[in-house]
Subunit: 208 residues, 2 copies
DNA sequence: AGTCAAACTGAACTGAACTCAGGTTGCTAG
DNA sequence: CTAGCAACCTGAGTTCAGTTCAGTTTGACT
C-alpha cells in the first residue's frame, strides 16, 4: 500500500494524516500544487477544511512534507542499492536502477518534487514549514554528496576518467530527475525502456 | 541591452511593457514566481498596480509571455547555430554551444521556464493566457522535434549508434536544462567549464 | 461517570490578485 | 489652436483561497 510509508511513528489510530498526504500527492501530482485547492484535499479525505490544520500548519507545510518524505525514500534507496557494491561501474548501475525502482505514487512524488524545488530555496515564515524545508534541503545535499562520492571513488580507482565529480554528479541527477517531467505511465515508452536508455547514457557520460 | 527583445512591434512609445517584463524577469527569476508580489513589479516600474492590467491580463499572463519569449529565443538560437552544419557531430556540438550562449537575463528566463513548466500542462481560463500557453507548448514541441531530427539524421548517416531518437532527445534536453536549476553566475564553477563538461556528456551520450 | 487529548467544525478574517468606473496625457487632424 | 481620441493610468472596491478563532465532539482510559 501507498500509505504505509506516510504514517509517522507517533500518530494516533484515528489520525487522517496519512490519508491527507495520499490525497495531496494525487492532487498535487496530477493537477499541480498551485492548481489544486487545499479544500479539495479536505473533501477527498472527508473532513472539513479547517481540520487540515490539525495535521499541517499550511498547504505549503503539507507540500514540503511530501517532498521531504520522497527525498528521504530516494536517498535510502540509493544507499541500500549501492552499499556493498565494490565495483564502481556496478555501483553506478545500481544507483541508476534504484532511481527507477518506483511505484506509481512515487512517480507522482518525484514529479511534485521536481515541480516545486524552488520552494526549498528561500526561507519559510512559519516554524514547522522551515523545519521541513531545512530537512529537505539537507537531504538534497546528502544525495548530491552520495553521487559525488560514488564518482570520486570510481575516478580515484581508475574506473572512470577524472572529471569535476561534483558537477558531473549534478548532471547525472539532472538527467535522471528530468525523466519525471515528461514520463507518464500511460505513455508510449514503458519505464523499463526509459530506464535502460538513461542507464546507458549515465554510464557513457561517466565511464568513457 | 536586455529590453531590446522584449519590445513588441506594435508598442506605443510610452509603453512600459518592456520595463514590466524586465522587472518581472528579475523578480520571478531571483525570488520565484509565487514568492514575488505582482504589486512589487509595479513598484519597480514606477506605476500603480492596476496599470499592470493595461499590458497583461494577469500575473500568469506575464509569466507565460516571459516563458514564450525565452522558448522562441532558444529555438531561434538552435536553428541559427545548426543550419548549414553538415556533420552531425558538429551540429550536435553547435546545438549544445547555442544552449549555453546566454546573457544573465536569459539565464534568469531559463530558470523561470524550468521552474514553471507545469503551467504549460493544464489549460488556462482566460483567452490571452491560453494563447500564450499554446504558443509556448508548441515551441516546446518544436524544440523537441528539432533535437530529435538532429539525432535521427546522425543515426541514419551512421554518425551515431541507433537508439530511440525522441527519448534520447528528451534526455539531452533534460540534461542541458537541468543546469539552470543550480547554476549561478556567482558560483564557483564558471559557465564555460559547465558548458564544456555538459557538451562532453552530450557527445558521449549520443555518439558512443 | 468523569477526564483528557485528539479530532473536528462553522463563522469570521486576511491579503494578494483582480475589477470597476472613471481621470490624465499627449499625439493627430482639422 | 483646440477637439477628439486612444493609450495610459489611478483609487476604491471585490473576490476568493488560505488561514485563524472560539469553541464542540469523539472515544480511550481511569
Amino acid at each position: 500500500m501507498t500509505g504505509a510509508r506516510l504514517v509517522e511513528p507517533d500518530e494516533g489510530p484515528r489520525s487522517k494524516r496519512g490519508a491527507i498526504l495520499a490525497a495531496a500527492i494525487e492532487y498535487f501530482g496530477e493537477a499541480g500544487y498551485e492548481a489544486t485547492k487545499w479544500s479539495a484535499v479536505a473533501g477527498r479525505v472527508g473532513i472539513g477544511q479547517t481540520a487540515l490544520y490539525h495535521y499541517f500548519e499550511s498547504k505549503a507545510h503539507c507540500l514540503l512534507t511530501i517532498m521531504r518524505l520522497e527525498l528521504q525514500r530516494s536517498r535510502d534507496q540509493f544507499v541500500e542499492a549501492t552499499e556493498g557494491e565494490q565495483d564502481p561501474v556496478a555501483a553506478l548501475r545500481a544507483a541508476v536502477g534504484a532511481a527507477f525502482a518506483v511505484s506509481e505514487a512515487e512517480i507522482l512524488q518525484m514529479r511534485i518534487l521536481q515541480n516545486n524545488m524552488v520552494l526549498l530555496a528561500g526561507p519559510r515564515a512559519s516554524k514547522r514549514e522551515e523545519t521541513e524545508r531545512r530537512a529537505a534541503r539537507e537531504l538534497v545535499q546528502s544525495i548530491e554528496r552520495d553521487w559525488t562520492r560514488l564518482l570520486t571513488r570510481g575516478m580515484s580507482e581508475g574506473a572512470f576518467p577524472v572529471r569535476d565529480a561534483h558537477t558531473l554528479a549534478l548532471a547525472l541527477l539532472g538527467l535522471i530527475i528530468s525523466v519525471w517531467r515528461w514520463y507518464r505511465p500511460t505513455g508510449s515508452t514503458p519505464l523499463a525502456e526509459v530506464r535502460e536508455l538513461i542507464e546507458g547514457c549515465c554510464l557513457r557520460m561517466v565511464t568513457e
